[in-house]
Amino acid sequence: MNHSSIIRASALEYVRGVTSGEFTAEEFLSETLSHIEEAEARYNAYLHVEDGQKLLARAREIDRGIKSGQKVGLLAGMPVSIKDNICMRGSRTTCGSRMLEGFVAPYDATAVSRLHAEGGIIVAKANMDEFAMGLTTEFSAYGPSRNPWNTGYVPGGSSGGSAAATAAFECVASLGSDTGGSVRNPASFCSVVGYKPTYGLVSRHGLVSYANSIEQIGPIARTVSDAALVLGVIAGRDEHDDTTADAAAADCGYLEGIEGGIEGMRVGIVDEMTEGADPEVARAVERASKDLEAAGASCERISLDMVGYSVPSYYTITAAEAASNLARYDNLRYGYDLSVDGYEFNSYVAEARGRFGPEVTRRMILGGYVSSAGHAGRYYLKALKVRAKLTREVADAFASSYDILMAPTVPILPFRIGEKSDDPVSLFMVDLNTVTANLTRRPAVSVPYAVSAGGLPIGVQMMADSMQDKTLLRAARALEKRRAPLPEVPD
């Protein structure tokens, strides 16, 4: 591997290379840092890059450890980034919002401490839609990120910074968060792997809540195996999050058996998620099903009636939860400078919260509306019931017939910056294929599959039953292995 291209290594290649002495952690990190400096001018993937000298010192420590035969962790000094809604002690955590401009986290998220414990080096906090509300990264208060495949296009969102940074080699892997597709959607748009774990597999301690009943932290990486490696590091029961699953269920060896193939698995292609898709996208999914059949799986079409109601249910629940989760931002205990002098409490809080961007403001008004005394029965409660019925329908499909449910990750191709940001309802439909996994708490992954005639990435989504994350990774790896070679991301 020559000097300029070492940073294109996958995570597994990195670990092999650094532990075999092919290159040092310091070399790799230093290359990455100088590449970030150059790439950021084009992509705006990061909101905040950590102090390079401190990071390099950490890398040297890892190198000394490798030389002296000490344990350096599964990640062995690998440069990774995290979405800016994940807390890291002493580091700014803005959630892409001016509301939290001055906020420094007093503690590490569990995912962060687990990355650190396995020798991961967190180089930067990645750009995102404000408080993760959006699917283009255009709603970041610090400017949109750009798609490395075409900088006039959105990278998807809300973890757009994480996906763009991973695609553009500004890190080996990144952590995003997925509330309704926020890891899978940008992964699909940027041609990287995006993984949304079973709800409860990864601790949310330190993930700033948007819609806490359905969201998960998930890895974004350049290969399925890389995602599995990172997932293994961050997954598992955490006493700081009562909703995490027991250790036995959250087995850590996600790389184990990943090459086992898809032979004998039954794959259902969801009608409701493919019917209205862009023809190029629909054709990609068709080819993908042929690939899987060639690899020994059986594919057939399946209809899930409740999917048609998933998006309004999803937006109702997320808006109601967001209005509650974001209520704490009253600027009294932390936040930005705004003196309380001369204000009455309610007017101060309303004034301070005027800093939320328009999309967040809108969703909180929406959330207040659908959960208010007069409307909760018609909207919030009904949305919960739709979620319950959808969950039953999906559980039945897995129990009776299928190991994997497949569909396009996003029904349309990536679009231009500014193209849809003014039409919230048409943006809603971009979420149609991803929200079902969140509402039903099932694991789902977006695997890069093709590039359109216009040079834009197309991802394929696979979903498995609860706690079947290993099966899902095996199937995703089988698809990745079978697909036609993909072009390199343009420089």
């Binding site: 809604n85 009943s213 999050d241 009562d242 939860e321 207040g368």
Partner: protein
């Protein structure tokens, strides 16, 4: 059932006012727990500097999640059981959303029966003063922080918040409007206070550990909520005042306005709340960060076996097992401090004497000691209840369990007269000496040595020739002589030895 205070004043037209209807909402802090409801900060924040007892969770910092305290669930279940409630199969939590400076997340995590019965207890009932008081529900929730105001005038007043209390586990008990008068109210609150203390949930003596709001109406009339009542003592006064106020309205044919009123402790009246009625839009949401918790039959059984006996069970045990007179058992069982002391120092043999010593002498001594003790600095802001806390401390200064046991043993075995025991107790309390030291130094032990007693017996016989003569035929007269010997020895003569000696001397002539 008796009714008193505030009742019965007739209307102007001579018809009696409708009967008062009273309901309560009691908030009880679980001060005996080691940590808050959702984080490991202290449950009892008293005596700490501002915002020292906080962490990212109870400060509502971004990204933090509640970590439900298992013991709070267990203790809450025990309270619900003690109040005769049904225990649900699963409990769940909700967010009550409203903006207030003492609420770090701008929502309070509490319980509701919105989607099925999922509060920690419900539909209970308890007998108070012969009448049943229904318990609508028992719920767990978090206490908010405390607001402090600085500055003399309203203009330059500054509001400060101390979040040490935020997240303290509370159990809220909502009664049905079943109370018929202040007496039943008072007895209920006393019973509840004893109960939570007895269950090891709360030290009711701590300031602000138990707080109550009351709903008062006259049958058929509008309901008034009374808030801002800082002690149970004031609660009773507030309710009495409010009933009288509503009756006066009624007698003048004025409608009682449905409203929230505040208790003005200084003026001893209720006044309409100045604050606007907070918008009712609490937008209750399921708290998805806390999974629903199963309270299975096994858990309920093991909690039941862990439950200390109730005051009435205790009283029953004292009477039937140790033959303690009912009036003494009443006093002893209703006070956890003394019933614990009793059980710790009790043997099958000394129980009756022990109960006697505690109720006739020890209680008075402890009361006196507590009255002179300086206020503990942690509770500088004395509530009426702080006395009780001081009293608990005083009791352990007065006497140890061992000392108490030795004293009762001595009386029960006939080695010490009751009078002497009283003196010994006072001496032990005063000097802090052990029973052995006191009994030997003060020569409080019984004189059972015949040679020592013989002289006294002989002098009594010679001083009472009349009685001595009758004694051979009338046993009551012998007892009279024993009494005389006792007088001369100031109660120290061993009664049995004295009797034998007297009989011998008299028969010898």
């Amino acid at each position: 059932m008796s009714r008193d205070g505030g009742s019965g004043s007739g209307g102007a037209d001579g018809t009696a006012a409708p009967r008062p209807v009273i309901g309560l909402e009691i908030h009880c802090q679980m001060t005996s727990l080691k940590s808050k409801l959702f984080c490991p900060c202290r449950a009892d924040y008293r005596g700490m500097g501002p915002n020292e007892n906080v962490c990212p969770v109870c400060m509502g910092m971004p990204g933090t999640l509640p970590r439900l305290n298992a013991e709070a669930v267990r203790k809450g279940t025990m309270i619900a059981m003690a109040l005769g409630c049904a225990i649900p199969e699963r409990i769940s939590f909700f967010r009550k959303n409203y903006f207030y400076p003492d609420l770090p997340k701008n929502f309070q995590i509490t319980q509701l029966d919105m989607y099925g019965d999922t509060c920690i207890g419900g539909r209970g009932s308890i007998l108070v003063d012969g009448g049943a008081v229904g318990i609508r529900r028992v719920q767990l929730e978090e206490d908010p922080g405390r607001m402090i105001y600085e500055g003399a005038s309203a203009r330059n007043r500054i509001s400060l918040v101390d979040y040490n209390r935020a997240g303290t586990p509370l159990v809220e008990i909502v009664t049905e409007p079943d109370f018929e008068g202040p007496r039943q109210l008072r007895l209920f609150l006393q019973m509840l206070s004893d109960m939570v203390e007895n269950l090891g949930v709360c030290n009711p003596a701590l300031e602000g550990a138990m707080r109550a709001d009351a709903n008062v109406s006259l049958e058929g009339g509008n309901r008034v909520e009374i808030k801002n009542i800082s002690s149970f003592h004031d609660l009773e006064k507030a309710v009495v005042f409010e009933i009288a106020r509503q009756e006066a309205q009624h007698s003048r044919d004025l409608e009682v306005v449905q409203e929230t009123r505040h208790w003005d402790a200084a003026r001893k009246i209720t006044i309409p709340s100045r604050l606007k009625e907070e918008e009712k839009g609490y937008r209750y949401l399921l708290e998805a960060d806390i999974p629903w918790v199963r309270i299975d039959a096994e858990t309920v059984e093991s909690l039941r076996s862990r439950m200390p006996e109730s005051v009435s069970e205790k009283r029953e045990r004292f009477v039937s097992l140790y033959m303690i007179p009912p009036q003494v058992a009443d006093v002893l069982s209703s006070d956890k401090l003394y019933s614990d002391l009793f059980d710790a120092a009790r043997t099958d043999r000394n129980a009756r004497e022990l109960a006697n010593i505690i109720t006739t002498d020890l209680m008075g001594l402890v009361m006196a000691a507590a009255a002179t003790a300086p206020a503990a600095d942690r509770d500088a802001a004395d509530g009426g209840d702080a006395q009780k806390k001081k009293r608990d401390d005083a009791a352990s200064d007065v006497i140890s369990v061992d000392g108490l046991r030795e004293l009762a043993d001595a009386v029960a075995s006939g080695n010490m007269a009751r009078n002497s025991a009283k003196q010994a107790l006072h001496e032990m309390a005063k000097t802090g000496k052990s029973f052995a030291e006191v009994s030997s130094e003060m020569d409080l032990g019984l004189v059972s040595d015949e040679s020592e007693l013989l002289g006294v017996v002989q002098s009594v016989i010679s001083e009472e020739p009349q009685a001595a003569k009758q004694a051979s035929s009338n046993p009551n007269t012998v007892n009279y002589l024993v009494g005389k010997v006792m007088q001369k020895t100031r109660g120290k003569a061993d009664p049995q030895v004295t009797l034998d000696l007297l009989k011998r001397c008299l028969s010898e002539g």
